[in-house]
């Protein structure tokens, strides 16, 4: 494809997003809560769209479509179990929101640090998030660079794609914090869902006539792709290892759980949750149909990640559709990266720097946070330029590594006996196990890293709590307040 059209499309996308970001930052205050949480006043529809755009990255139309291409219907099950993890928000959403409002928490790590009365808990939780999420962001950048390079057949080099994505991320996040990110995310979520839906409808109509015919061809030519373990990729252990850590993503990923602080009210949180569930179901279905289409139209690829590029380069796809799909995938990646760097910036300032220098003034803390928006994006950029195997390992380990914070979150709201020492031990041991198992490709009993990091952190959290002293007064005060407020709000 002519590189001129690619630059033009990306330019229009950047201008449109920047107009939205400028509009969003009007009336922005100067505090930490204002910059990082949009002053806890985001309406439900925008909250749903930013939650969706943050959660769904370039993985959907490339990785999940590739999983479907290689492994069949198991990809659908894996992704829907991931989506059903939102049932946790039905219980934890009101608790996070009420606690955030009452105690002015900016980050999920701050909630844990205060609840367990421990700076160490707060700092370690924040640093764990940074270790696992920067490489994850780098992989998103690599995806954009590779996609742009492939689409232009090398006319736009990989590095140019990286630089464009990095600049877009920094400008929107630095400009208006959560307000700009939430509104540009909303724009990008609409781009993602509209373009992907139209593209899949177009391909199915053009190539097969209708969905029924497409599934008929699958049943006839690739029957294994409609069962599990099917062609073999989705063995039960692989399926469990992928699905289990991602089921808890709404609690374990701080860029997602921080969004539980931002809705204007519980009514708006309900709109956020239900809106995300509807968006997620449709976007998952679209990505799966995209993967099945690739299976039928471009069989014989050795690597599932090649399915989307191969499909886009077919004659059946007009160049304008291919260009739109590229913009849709770019939007999915950038909306995930800028949410991650914004959350990590709030964590480094609120959970690390403020704990080291408690007397720091809020405006200096905010300035530090904004500088880190730039530094974290730059860090992801540098990682991406290296294209190290290490990045892929850390990125794959991110779901397993972040899972280790979940026992502490359960304990914070439901178990008065949980202790700070137990949180520290469970996060450090679980996180180390996640890295070790992933690097050395260790799979005891054939189970994936995420299963073991979850088990290790949960067991250690319970056992160490039994032998150490909990912050009884804080636990009593915190949980009594939450229970009373939940009754008022009629939440379970």
């Amino acid at each position: 494809m002519n590189s001129y059209y690619i630059y033009l499309a990306i330019g229009l996308y950047f201008i449109l997003g920047t107009i939205v970001a400028v509009y969003a930052r009007r009336g922005m205050g100067r505090g930490m809560a204002d910059f990082f949480l949009a002053n806890r006043a985001v309406n439900g529809v925008v909250a749903a769209l930013t939650y969706s755009a943050t959660t769904y990255s370039a993985f959907m139309m490339v990785g999940l479509a590739g999983f479907t291409y290689i492994g069949g219907v198991g990809a659908w099950g894996f992704e829907l179990i991931y989506l059903s993890g939102l049932v946790l928000v039905a219980f934890f959403g009101p608790r996070f929101w009420l606690a955030g409002k009452k105690y002015n928490y900016i980050t999920p790590a701050e909630l844990l640090g205060d609840r367990y009365q421990s700076r160490a808990v707060q700092v370690i939780t924040a640093i764990t998030s940074i270790i696992f999420l920067i490489p994850y962001s780098a992989v998103q950048l690599i995806g954009i660079g590779t996609l742009v390079e492939g689409m232009s057949k090398g006319a736009i080099p990989f590095m140019a794609g990286l630089i464009i994505a990095t600049v877009v991320t920094v400008v929107w996040a630095f400009m208006g914090g959560m307000r700009a990110v939430a509104w540009t995310d909303s724009l990008q979520a609409l781009i993602m869902i509209t373009i992907s839906t139209l593209s899949v409808v177009f391909i199915i109509h053009r190539a097969f006539g209708d969905v029924g015919t497409m599934f008929g061809l699958l049943e006839k030519n690739y029957p294994g792709w409609l069962t599990v373990p099917g062609p073999g990729f989705f063995s039960f252990n692989t399926f469990l290892g992928l699905s289990l850590p991602w089921f808890f993503f709404s609690l374990s990923n701080p860029q997602v759980s921080q969004r539980l602080f931002i809705p204007r009210s519980l009514t708006h949180m309900r709109i956020m949750v239900m809106g995300f569930l509807c968006f997620g179901f449709v976007y998952t279905l679209i990505s799966i149909l995209w993967g099945f289409s690739a299976r039928l139209l471009v069989p014989g690829l050795a690597n599932g990640d090649l399915a989307t590029p191969a499909l886009l380069s077919m004659n059946v796809i007009p160049p304008v559709i291919a260009l739109l799909v590229m913009i849709g995938i770019t939007a999915a990646a950038i909306s995930t990266i800028n949410s991650i760097v914004l959350t990590l910036s709030s964590m480094i300032s609120q959970d690390v720097i403020k704990q080291i220098i408690p007397a720091v003034e809020e405006n200096n803390l905010l300035l530090t946070g904004r500088i880190f928006v730039f530094l974290f994006t730059l860090g992801a950029f540098v990682f991406a330029t290296m294209r190290l195997g290490l990045i892929a390992v850390l990125s794959v380990a991110s779901s397993a590594g972040l899972l280790v914070t979940v026992p502490a979150i359960f304990g914070a709201f439901f178990w008065k006996r949980g202790t700070a020492a137990a949180v520290v031990v469970s996060i450090l041991a679980g996180g180390t196990a996640a890295l070790l198992f992933q690097f050395a490709n260790i799979k005891p009993l054939g189970l994936g890293t995420g299963v073991w990091s979850g088990i290790i952190s949960a067991v250690l959290f319970i056992v160490v709590s039994r032998f150490t002293v909990p912050p009884e007064a804080k636990a009593e005060e915190f949980m009594s307040y939450i229970d009373g407020a939940l009754k008022e709000k009629n939440a379970i």
Binding site: V73, G74, W76, G77, L80, I81, L83, S84, L86, V87, V89, A90, F91, P94, F215, L218, E219, P223, G224, W225, L226, T227, V228, P229, F236, F239, L240, S243, F247, S265, L266, T267, M269, R270, V273, M274, L277, C278, F281, D483, L486, K487, E488, K489, N490, A491, I492
Partner: protein
């Protein structure tokens, strides 16, 4: 319809909050476990769109409806 009625009953009335959480937790545990077990144990011999594909779709819809029922009672 019967399942939805049962779930709505679980959501209403004056029962203890702890019991409601336990009731919903058991329902979700059964639902999620079924998503791991049923397609592998009972549907692996059905290479049709109404096999694992349909089951997982219905599973997700059941989870979405359940979340809708729980959150419908939240107050401003």
């Amino acid at each position: 319809v019967v399942i939805i009625k049962l779930l709505r009953n679980l959501n209403s009335g004056g029962g203890k909050v702890g019991n409601k959480i336990t009731g919903w937790a058991v329902w979700f545990l059964v639902l999620v476990l079924s998503a791991f077990i049923v397609p592998y144990q009972f549907l692996s011999g059905i290479p049709k769109v109404y096999g694992a594909f349909l089951y997982w779709g219905l599973f997700a819809l059941a989870a979405m409806i359940s979340v809708g029922i729980i959150t419908a009672r939240w107050r401003e």
